[in-house]
């Protein structure tokens, strides 16, 4: 048995994917915490347990994500290339992809072979990424499941949130609660605002179906709905949405010989500051 492990080290969570003959046979997910090497080891152990295999069967460990160059591994690859490879297998019709993690969001444009043709990203502002949603659970004193449930059931939405910044939002959310605005309306307002911000990111690479949402935020059905409304296009979520980069990372072990991936962008490469503070004057 020849196994390849792909590991995506995120700022909040680390995912591992075990791949045998390009098929995904096991996944593992752990909180990243402080020690990145430990996160890699723990996520791999979880994936091995999921697949019912042993560490000795793993031929190569390939890593991607934050700090991929600081941990021990057989190789490290860029995240966007991995995403293209994985999606080409699990959702080959995917042309426009929004990756949303805790601390970054990226819109990718893929061709029919999974090559990354264009991308744009936000890693500058917490108001457009998953972190805002986890902060919102804290402001509203709910867990994520509750948050998603009340947001989906919201019969109305708070008229307009003045604040775009997630730091300012804390006090605004608190005053809205004091004004007896239902939590569901507040939460829906925040979901819509984040979706709106990311719809501009997607529009910059161009909306072309199928539109896919991947990354940890893809588990939030309320956000998926808000995004669909914001871009007026159906959004698909692959079953393995959170594991797409990890899976694709494992696939890079064999992809080099078989496919022709020319575009290989580095996350953080585009320093446009698109989410820079807006200045009104």
């Amino acid at each position: 048995m020849t196994l390849i492990a792909g590991i995506d080290i995120g700022s909040d969570y680390t995912q591992a994917a075990l791949v045998e003959d390009e098929e995904l046979i096991g996944t593992g997910e752990v909180r990243t915490k402080f020690d990145l090497q430990d996160a890699v080891d723990r996520s791999l152990a979880a994936a091995l347990e999921d697949a019912g295999t042993d560490r000795e069967d793993v031929e190569q460990v390939i890593v991607t994500g934050d700090g991929r160059k600081t941990v021990e591994a057989d190789d490290n690859v860029t995240q966007y290339k991995s995403i293209g490879l994985a999606l080409n297998r699990v959702w080959p019709e995917g042309r426009t992809v929004l990756l949303m993690g805790a601390k970054n969001a990226a819109a990718l444009k893929l061709d029919e072979e999974g090559n990354v043709m264009d991308f744009d990203e936000n890693d500058k502002c917490a108001a457009g990424v998953g972190r805002f949603l986890s902060d919102l659970t804290r402001y509203l004193d709910m867990d994520l499941d509750e948050l998603v449930e009340v947001t989906l059931e919201a019969d109305d939405v708070v008229e307009e949130l003045n604040t775009q910044c997630s730091v300012f939002a804390e006090s605004e959310v608190i005053s809205l609660i004091h004004e007896n605005v239902p939590e569901s309306h507040i939460s829906r307002g925040v979901h819509e605002a984040i979706a709106e911000r990311n719809s501009s990111l997607i529009r910059r690479v161009g909306i072309e179906p199928d539109v896919l949402l991947i990354g940890g935020v893809a588990r939030n059905a309320a956000f998926v709905k808000a995004l669909e409304e914001a871009i007026d296009t159906e959004v698909q979520v692959p079953d393995i949405a959170a594991f797409v980069p990890a899976y694709g990372t494992a696939l890079t072990a064999t992809a080099g010989q078989e496919t022709d991936i020319e575009t290989d962008f580095e996350p953080g490469e585009k320093k446009g500051g698109k989410f820079e503070q807006e200045i009104s004057g």
Binding site: S11, F34, K103, K124, C125, A126, A127, R131, D135, T163, Q164, C165, S166, V167, F168, S171, I174, S175, H178, E179, E276, Q277, E278, I279, S280, G281
Partner: protein, 313 residues
């Protein structure tokens, strides 16, 4: 209920008076700003016009009372969830400390700041840009050309003429970076108060690299990582202030810094920002002898006196 914590003598634009620091019950955080009230020695004098200005900011509310355009009293409190209530509390804080003024003393009142829109207890409202420009001109004199106002939830760079009229301005009220709320939020990581963080940031032998994130949320993550790596709170505070100052300088350079240069708003009290800002732009800020947070409310009170006189013919 308030209790006096300290009392000292303080001068505001040439008028001597008593400055009270009061502690009040509050529900936000334990190290919240105290309420301050200043009562000028001139409070008993007879004035032709008594005017009042409120600056109801996102974070704090200032109330300034003027007699014939001279400062008579001011207060600074934390803004509550209701803006009308915050304004009333600001005035009440002053009236509690002096018998020479009551609710009927004021001839004309003007509100500024973000809370002015929902207020129905004043005679008029004026934008905070105009009020801060006038306030800076009033306190620092007609040589001031550039005003940087660093408020609780916004950051403004204003160019003014010799009369304190606005020539040009840039404002960031979308992002917490460079605002008081941002500094306050960052302070939480270090477990120290907003008053302490500036001086602490200067207590390093050598400046570290600035934190790489402009966003306060991400900067806090970076700070936690630095603390875990064993960096001192002082170093982390310095790294944050350096990044904050870079951000502020960018805004200032876009509006163009022309001397004299003045800083108003709460962050003017933070030497970790002010000293580094002066070093970076190579211009010293005018050294205030008053509470810089009252500039906007003072501008409003000044305008209120003028409008009252105009109304009287």
């Amino acid at each position: 209920m308030s209790t006096t914590q300290s009392k000292e003598r303080s001068t505001v634009k040439g008028v001597e008076g008593d400055l009270y620091e009061l502690t009040t019950e509050h529900d936000r955080s334990e190290w919240e700003w105290p309420t301050t009230v200043w009562i000028g020695d001139n409070v008993d004098q007879a004035f032709d016009v008594i005017s009042l200005g409120y600056d109801i900011g996102s974070t704090s509310t200032q109330t300034v009372i003027m007699g014939d355009k001279q400062p008579v009293a001011y207060s600074s409190i934390r803004t509550g969830s209701q803006t009308t209530e915050s304004a009333r509390k600001g005035e009440r804080a002053i009236l509690d400390e002096t018998d020479a003024l009551d609710e009927d003393s004021v001839d004309f009142s003007i509100a500024t700041g973000y809370g002015r829109v929902n207020l129905d207890i004043v005679d008029d409202t004026i934008t905070e840009i105009a009020c801060h420009a006038k306030g800076a001109n009033y306190f620092y004199g007609q040589k001031v050309r550039t005003v940087l106002d660093m408020g609780g939830q916004d950051l403004k760079a204003i160019r003014i003429d010799e009369k304190g009229k606005v020539q040009n301005f840039l404002m960031n009220d979308k992002c917490a970076a460079g605002t008081g709320r941002g500094v306050e939020s960052f302070s939480e990581v270090l477990g120290i108060s907003i008053e302490e963080i500036g001086p602490k940031s200067l207590a390093v032998d050598e400046d570290p690299d600035p934190v790489s994130s402009t966003c306060v949320v991400f900067a806090k993550d970076e700070a936690s990582a630095l603390l875990r790596e064993g960096e001192s709170a002082e170093t982390v505070a310095a790294a944050y202030h350096l990044s904050l100052v870079e951000n502020v300088v960018e805004l200032l350079e876009r509006v163009g810094v022309e001397p004299e240069f003045a800083i108003t708003g709460g962050i003017a009290k933070n030497p970790g920002v002010v000293n580094r800002l002066e070093d970076t732009i190579g211009t010293e800020a005018l050294d205030p002898d008053f509470d810089t947070q009252i500039a906007g409310a003072a501008g409003a009170a000044f305008f209120a006196a003028g409008m009252y006189l105009q109304q009287q013919g």
